[in-house]
C-alpha cells in the first residue's frame, strides 16, 4: 500500500517539477499572450472612445476600465502568493516557490496601477489626487504587504531560503488581509460619515458593462502572461546547474 502511494507521489512530484512546468508554460504562453494583446486593445478602444459618457461623472469615469480589473488582480495576486506559499511549505514543491517569487512584482505592479488610476480618478471627481477612502487605503496597505514579501525574498543570500521565508510571510499576510480590510473600512466610516466611495457600482448598462468585462479578461490574460514569462525566467535561473537547462542553452547556441 505504501509502495503504491510512494509511486503515486513520485508521479505527482515529476509532474510539478520545474522542468515540466517550463515545458508546459512554453506551450500555454501564446494562448495567454495573444488574447491579452487583442482583448486589451479592443477593451481600451471600446471603453475609452466608444462607450457613452457617464451621466454624473462625464468622461472621467472611464478610468474604471483599468482601475477595477487592476484592483481585483492586485488582491488575486496576493492570494496567488499565499497559495504558492502554502504549497511550498506544506508539500515542498520547488516550482511553487519559483512561481511565487515571479508573481510578487507582477502583483505589486497591478496594485500600483490600481492606486495610480484610483488617484487619477479622484482628481476630476473630488479635486484632489488622493483621498483616504477605505478602498484606496486598503490598496495602499496591500502594496506595503507586497513590498514586504519582495524585500524579504531579496534580503537572503541563499535564494531558496529567502523564497521559503517569503512564502511563510505571504501565508501570514493573507490571514491578516481580511482583518486589515475590515479594520480600514470601519475606520473610514468613523472618520467620514458621507458616502465617500470611489467605485460606486450601480447597475451598469451593457454599453459600459461589456467593455469592462473585456478589459477584465484582457488584464487577467496579461497578468497570466507576465507571471508565466517571469516564472520561466526564474526556473532557468534557479535550475541553471541542472542537465536539462544546460542542454537547452546548448541547443540555443546552435
Amino acid at each position: 500500500m505504501t509502495n503504491w502511494l510512494r509511486r503515486l507521489w513520485a508521479i505527482i512530484e515529476s509532474t510539478v517539477s520545474p522542468r515540466y512546468f517550463y515545458q508546459l508554460s512554453g506551450r500555454w504562453l501564446p494562448w495567454f499572450a495573444w488574447p491579452a494583446v487583442i482583448l486589451i486593445a479592443v477593451g481600451l478602444v471600446w471603453g475609452l472612445a466608444i462607450a457613452p459618457a457617464d451621466y454624473q461623472q462625464g468622461n472621467s469615469y472611464r478610468i474604471i476600465f483599468i482601475h477595477v480589473p487592476s484592483a481585483s488582480l492586485a488582491m488575486g495576486g496576493y492570494l496567488l502568493l499565499a497559495i504558492c506559499g502554502a504549497i511550498t511549505l506544506i508539500w515542498r514543491v520547488k516550482t511553487a516557490e519559483m512561481v511565487a517569487k515571479a508573481a510578487a512584482p507582477v502583483g505589486a505592479l497591478f496594485c500600483l496601477m490600481a492606486l495610480v488610476t484610483g488617484s487619477l480618478w479622484g482628481k476630476p471627481t473630488w479635486g484632489t489626487y488622493w483621498v483616504w477612502d477605505a478602498r484606496l487605503t486598503s490598496m495602499l496597505i496591500l502594496l506595503f504587504l507586497y513590498f514586504g514579501v519582495m524585500a524579504l525574498q531579496s534580503a537572503f543570500e541563499d535564494v531558496a531560503q529567502g523564497s521559503k521565508a517569503a512564502a511563510l510571510l505571504a501565508v501570514v499576510g493573507v490571514v491578516n488581509l481580511p482583518i486589515i480590510k475590515y479594520s480600514v473600512e470601519w475606520w473610514n466610516t468613523l472618520h467620514q460619515g458621507s458616502t465617500f466611495r470611489i467605485t460606486e457600482r450601480p447597475s451598469m448598462p451593457p454599453e459600459m458593462y461589456l467593455p469592462l468585462l473585456v478589459m477584465f479578461l484582457g488584464l487577467y490574460a496579461l497578468f497570466a502572461t507576465l507571471i508565466l514569462l517571469r516564472s520561466r525566467q526564474e526556473i532557468l535561473q534557479r535550475e541553471r546547474r541542472s542537465q536539462w537547462v544546460r542542454q537547452l542553452i546548448e541547443d540555443e547556441r546552435e
Binding site: R92, E157, D158, V159, A160, K164, R238, E239, R240, R241
Partner: protein, 205 residues
C-alpha cells in the same frame, strides 16, 4: 542503532550530498571528513534534526525519528560551532538551565564533578563573558558529563582547545565509545584514538 537512509541536502540550489546512507552502532566513533564547504556541518545538523527541509530518513533504535523526534533528541547532544552559552550568565547558571531544558535537574555534586572533568573547578560563578574561547568550549563540553547523552554529535569540537586539551578530549571520546556510547564528529584535526574510527568521507561532486 542509528541508521541514515538516502539523506539529501541542497544549499543555494546546489546539491551537497545525495543518497547518503550509513549506520552506526554503539561503540563506534564516526569521523565525518571532507574539505571546507562540502556539507559536513549540514550533515551533522540533519542527523540532529535541525534541518527541517532536507529529505531522507533517520532511524533510531529501529524506529523512524520523524514519528517521535523527542525520544531521539533526548538521547543525543548536539554541540555546534557556537558554544550555545549565554555570556551574561554564569557557568553554573548556563549548565543548569541547559540541563532543565532537557528535563533534568542538576545537583551541585553533578555540576562539580563535570566541571572537574573539564578542568574548570571553581569556575561555577564566573560569567561566561569573562572566559577565554578555549574555556567556553570546555564549558560546552561539560554538557557531555552533566547531561550524559548516548549519542554525541560534535561539530569541530577541537576548536580553540590547546594541545593538552586535545589529548583529553580524545580520551573522553574513546571512553564514551568503550562504554557503549556513539560519537559522530566533524573535525579537520587528525584524530588518534585508542579505539577504532569509522571514517565518513564527503567528496565534492
Amino acid at each position: 542503532m542509528l541508521e541514515l537512509q538516502n539523506l539529501e541536502a541542497w544549499r543555494d540550489d546546489r546539491c551537497l550530498y545525495q543518497a547518503l546512507s550509513l549506520s552506526l552502532q554503539p561503540g563506534q566513533v564516526g569521523h565525518i571528513m571532507g574539505p571546507n564547504g562540502v556539507g559536513k556541518t549540514t550533515l551533522l545538523k540533519q542527523i540532529a534534526g535541525l534541518n527541517a527541509f532536507m529529505s531522507g530518513r533517520v532511524r533510531w533504535r529501529d524506529a523512524q525519528v520523524s514519528d517521535d523526534p523527542q525520544r531521539y533528541q533526548q538521547e543525543l547532544l548536539f554541540l555546534g560551532h557556537l558554544a550555545g552559552l549565554k555570556s551574561a550568565l554564569t557557568v553554573a547558571e548556563n549548565l543548569q538551565a541547559l540541563a532543565v531544558c532537557r528535563g533534568m535537574v542538576l545537583s551541585a555534586n553533578q555540576l562539580e564533578a563535570a566541571l572537574e572533568r573539564v578542568g574548570l573547578t571553581g569556575y561555577d560563578d564566573v560569567l561566561v563573558a569573562q572566559l577565554s574561547a578555549g574555556q567556553k568550549r570546555r564549558v560546552a563540553l561539560a554538557r557531555l558529563f552533566t547531561e550524559s547523552p548516548l549519542l554525541w554529535l560534535l561539530d569541530e569540537p577541537f576548536t580553540a582547545i590547546d594541545q593538552a586539551g586535545v589529548a583529553e578530549l580524545e580520551g573522553w571520546l574513546a571512553d564514551h565509545a568503550e562504554r557503549g556510547g556513539m560519537v559522530l564528529l566533524t573535525t579537520h584535526h587528525r584524530l588518534s584514538l585508542r579505539c577504532p574510527i569509522t571514517p565518513i568521507e564527503l567528496i565534492p561532486a
